[in-house]
Amino acid sequence: MSGFWCSIREGIEGFRRAPFSSFVSLSTVALALTLLGAFAAVSLNLNRLAAALQQRMTFEVFVDDALEGAAIADLERQIRATPGVAKVEFVSKEAAARAIKEEFGDDVLEILGENPLPASFRVALTANSRSAPVAESVAAKLRALKGVSEVVYRAELFRLLDRYLQLAITVDVVVGIALVLGSIFVVFNTIRLIIHAKRQIIGTMKLVGATPGFIRRPFLVEGMLQGGAGGALAVFFLWVLVRLASVEAPHLLVLPDLFFPSILAAGILLGWMGSFVAVRRLLKY
């Protein structure tokens, strides 16, 4: 058997020979990646939910009652041409009355004898215009258009979302970095302690003339196996969590296709890197 395959087999054997330390290492990786994965899932979906919320924040641009036909079409063209405007939808006086009836059950025509509701345009903003200051400037431009009687939008909501979204993104990034660094630290130290306990074996390997590569390989294979198994366990835990969440609130969590494979790959990478760093210290001749 060549040295290469021998050291691969040694790595697999190491997993079997020391089940307790393998279990400790595997559990640490699994725990760290479950936490990281859950955090990543929430982060990804928070951003998505915030974007969806912003998308729903539209302007109501009310039209002068005097405006009719071609003038309304002309106004629509001007609104569409306003920078920051993504989508424009016309709501006629009749459609506004129907909406009131659907919402409250009362027919304004029957109650008042006429339709006092103005026609309007429902205007959605482009993605990069959904902050409070830009929204305000778009609103001002729309108000200045001839034929516009009023522009209504929830300015306070824009400001709140601006403030809290920024805070949420900052907290998200800080917690994310802390979690990633914490996970690397914990996993690396666990592997380092496990490998440190094997320093006598490494010493014996060196005495009988093993090359650094030969000594390192089994530990890397073992680390990758432990990391991969930990990653697989984390994938299982996260899958259960996602299933539970989707029972409670369907479509709340949407994860990219590569989410679970990334968790598994992160486990293998963590195990490999942790073992590499830990063994390197003991390999000096």
Binding site: I201, L207, A210, P212, Y285
Partner: protein, 215 residues
């Protein structure tokens, strides 16, 4: 084959060796004798290049301490078999695997490993215990496994650091007889010990070391 010339290697705590001169020729049996702390282990470490001399030179076969590269040290060690007082066996592998391990690191083929390990275990009288774990063996048997591991690569020289230090007198004599038998087959042996009684009976060349100097 092994030459140390005016070697100095002092540790920060003051231990170590200075002015050490030693030659071990092919097929020779040499005792390195001195009290505890005299520098015997340091001399052996200098030979297998666990330590490098601060002054002087150590030559082992084609390797020279002043020129050897770190990546060459494993290949130097394959020329030497090393045996310690505390055996240093791998506790999670049986006797066969402990001995085979020294061959595996060289990339030897499975068939060759089996043949050589069985032969060397027969030589040290442990064929029948090849599937035992180290903790199931007596001290003398564990030292025989360590000697088998040191021999299996057919080294030019065997370095033994107090190999009888942990053994009772009868077992110690048995281990020494085994080393003499190995030496008769052509392997040079350098044995560090403080057991003067054992050394005097053996009638081999003796190099004395005290206070870090060879006398």
């Amino acid at each position: 084959m092994i030459h140390l010339r005016d070697v100095r290697m002092l540790y920060p705590d003051g231990g170590g060796v200075e002015c050490v001169n030693l030659d071990v020729h092919p097929g020779e049996f040499v005792f390195l004798v001195g009290p505890s702390g005299a520098g015997k282990t340091t001399v052996l470490k200098l030979i297998y290049m666990e330590e490098r001399p601060q002054q002087g030179v150590v030559k082992v076969h084609q390797y020279d301490s002043s020129r050897i590269k770190r990546r060459e040290i494993p290949y130097l060690r394959r020329l030497l078999g090393i045996v310690f007082q505390d055996f240093r066996l791998l506790p999670d592998r049986d006797v066969f695997e402990n001995v085979a391990f020294a061959l595996r690191v060289t990339g030897a083929k499975r068939k060759e490993i089996k043949r050589k390990v069985l032969r060397v275990l027969a030589e040290v009288g442990l064929s029948h215990k090849r599937h035992r774990m180290p903790h199931e063996l007596s001290g003398g048997e564990q030292q025989r496994v360590a000697i088998a591991r040191a021999l299996v690569n057919e080294p030019l020289a065997l370095l033994a650091d107090e190999p009888t230090g942990n053994l009772d007198p009868d077992t110690a004599r048995g281990v020494l007889e085994l080393l003499e038998k190995i030496n008769l087959k052509g392997t040079a042996v350098l044995m560090a010990t403080h057991n003067y009684a054992l050394v005097e009976r053996a009638g081999k060349r003796i190099v004395r070391i005290d206070g870090g100097r060879t006398l």
